[in-house]
């Protein structure tokens, strides 16, 4: 449990948000040409990092907008929040 700064609403409790998993997984441009292995990779395989992870969150009980978060999964500390479509901030 922690505080997330929604880029649209500001600081809110984590329980207002729902996690959308690993960020920057690009949807295949030509789905019909994908092999089974590539589909499995897109749909199921995850880095599941212990450490700094790029992930998507949705302010489900607020503005309902999606955005990206950089969070350390080993201590739940949030390093940065940025909007969809934006490049992750360089540190």
């Amino acid at each position: 449990m922690f505080i997330i700064t929604c880029p649209f609403c500001g600081e809110r409790d984590q329980s207002e948000f729902s996690a959308g998993g690993e960020a920057h997984i690009v949807r295949p441009k030509q789905p019909t040409e994908l092999s089974d292995d590539e589909w499995a990779d897109f749909l199921f395989m995850r880095k599941n990092i212990k450490g700094v992870q790029f992930e998507r969150w949705n302010h489900a009980h607020g503005c309902r907008k999606w955005f990206n978060v950089i969070r350390d999964t080993s201590n739940d500390k949030i390093h940065a929040v940025y909007k969809m479509g934006e490049k992750p901030p360089q540190k």
């Binding site: 449990m1 984590q14 329980s15 729902s18 996690a19 998993g21 089974d36 292995d37 589909w39 499995a40 990779d41 749909l43 199921f44 395989m45 995850r46 880095k47 599941n48 990092i49 212990k50 992870q53 992930e55 999964t73 080993s74 201590n75 739940d76």
Partner: protein, 417 residues
């Protein structure tokens, strides 16, 4: 040679004030090379080593453990054992484990306090009733004992449950597996460790894996904080940290790691003599032999390795517990903790070879791995020794995420995720 534990050894050692008990397992330094190395000294890893030595005669093997044995999810779960899963593949897997549990204390000469007190799963809405009845039929077709109980029968079996129709999620019935129950979780790890050690398996604690060395498409060994260990076969049984090891080998797994919480109350006199699980409201409870209520809460809905879990998850579970068991309203909770569970998209485990020669994974047990400990170890040992899965774990290979032949057990997994 290990001395047998028995009533006679207990009497004999009582004369010397229990100061001369034989060491249960050694504390060896790693050798340069092993025939196989198991990564992870929890119940599943130690069971794997035990069955590798016992059934496949692989005795030059080691178990490496980052902390101390049984200190991860083996020591953090709510010790529930059952096999009432829906699909044939799962029924085969979990009932294989349950059958091994029934004779485990004798087999490893260690009292794992296996208690077949029954597990009841409650239904709180019409869909629950349909799903649970269907699961009961599926179980019986697979030779697994299961019965459907009406609301009155639920009340008779566990009188402290509030079966009033006026509560928010009324009890509309439930299923009961009488062969199911609980066991002492630490004893399972210790018993398998002692048994494996007696056959020559090196159990190396405080030994953290730092890297996996590959030569082309085959493994060569592991880098650890105690130096390099050469081996041609690596069996990874690292639960919530499976992806961390997989990343070292350069592969990805279909897993997400999340904190799962449990809590225990102050000890009280016997009040509940079975295990009651309630998926819809997310509350499950049993009573330990010490008298504590053992309560399982849910997972946090995001990836985290913090071994803590959020307070709102515990609150939600306790609200449900109090509505179902008003008698517990004055109880004090003593301890709360979290463990990191690795969850597969289909809520079924992976016991499988990988595309890298000599690298095997036993993971993805999610919120319910403890019940499968003996079966998981037995089947994983078979997979490592023969480089082929046993027929009971053939369905639980990694390639099912490519073929689409998933084993969807979200309904039977008990913890919603």
């Amino acid at each position: 040679m290990k001395n047998n534990y028995s009533i006679f050894s207990l009497l004999k050692n009582s004369i010397s004030y229990h100061e001369n008990w034989q060491q249960a397992w050694r504390d060896p330094e790693p050798k340069k090379e092993y025939d196989a190395v198991i990564v992870g000294g929890g119940g599943h890893g130690l069971a794997t080593a035990y069955y590798l030595a016992k059934k496949h005669n692989m005795k030059n093997i080691a178990v490496v453990e980052k902390g101390w044995i049984g200190g991860g999810n083996t020591g953090r779960n709510t010790t529930i054992i059952r096999s009432n899963y829906l699909w044939d593949a799962s029924a085969g897997l979990y009932d294989h484990a349950l059958k091994l549990w029934e004779n485990l204390s004798q087999e490893i000469n260690y009292n794992v306090m296996f208690s077949q007190r029954g597990v009841m799963n409650l239904a709180h809405n019409l869909q629950d009733v349909r799903d649970l009845k269907r699961r009961t039929h599926a179980n019986r077709l697979n030779g697994i004992d299961a019965v459907w109980l009406s609301t009155e029968e639920v009340k008779k079996f566990c009188p402290i449950i509030n079966t009033s129709p006026d509560i928010r999620y009324p009890v509309l019935g439930g299923t009961l597996q009488r062969r199911a129950g609980t066991a002492r979780h630490d004893a399972v790890a210790w018993g398998y460790a002692r048994g494996a050690d007696a056959m020559g398996v090196d159990i190396i604690q405080n030994c953290e894996v730092k890297g996996i060395k590959r030569n082309g498409n085959a493994v060569e060994g592991i880098e650890t904080n105690k130096g390099f260990i050469k081996t041609k076969k690596i069996g990874v049984v690292a639960a919530g940290h499976s992806s961390v090891i997989a990343n070292m080998a350069g592969i990805r797994l279909p897993l997400e790691s999340k904190p799962l919480q449990a809590l225990v109350s102050e000890p009280v006199k016997p009040i509940i003599d079975t295990v009651v699980m309630s998926n819809a409201v997310h509350a499950y409870v049993s009573q330990s032999d010490k008298g504590e209520l053992v309560i399982g809460a849910g997972t946090d809905a995001y990836v985290s390795y913090t071994q803590r879990g959020s307070h709102d998850v515990v609150e939600g579970t306790l609200k449900a517990i109090l509505e179902l068991y008003p008698i517990f309203s004055r109880m004090k909770m003593l301890r709360q903790w979290g463990g990191i569970v690795d969850i597969c998209p289909d809520a079924s485990p992976i016991i499988s070879k990988t595309n890298i020669k000599g690298l095997y994974f036993n993971c993805g047990w999610g919120t319910g791995g403890f019940k499968a400990t003996p079966g998981s170890g037995d089947l994983f040992a078979h997979t490592i020794a023969n480089d082929e899965p046993h027929k009971l774990n053939a369905s639980f290979n990694i390639n099912r995420f490519v073929s689409g032949d998933l084993v969807d057990e979200h309904g039977a997994a008990a913890v919603a995720h």
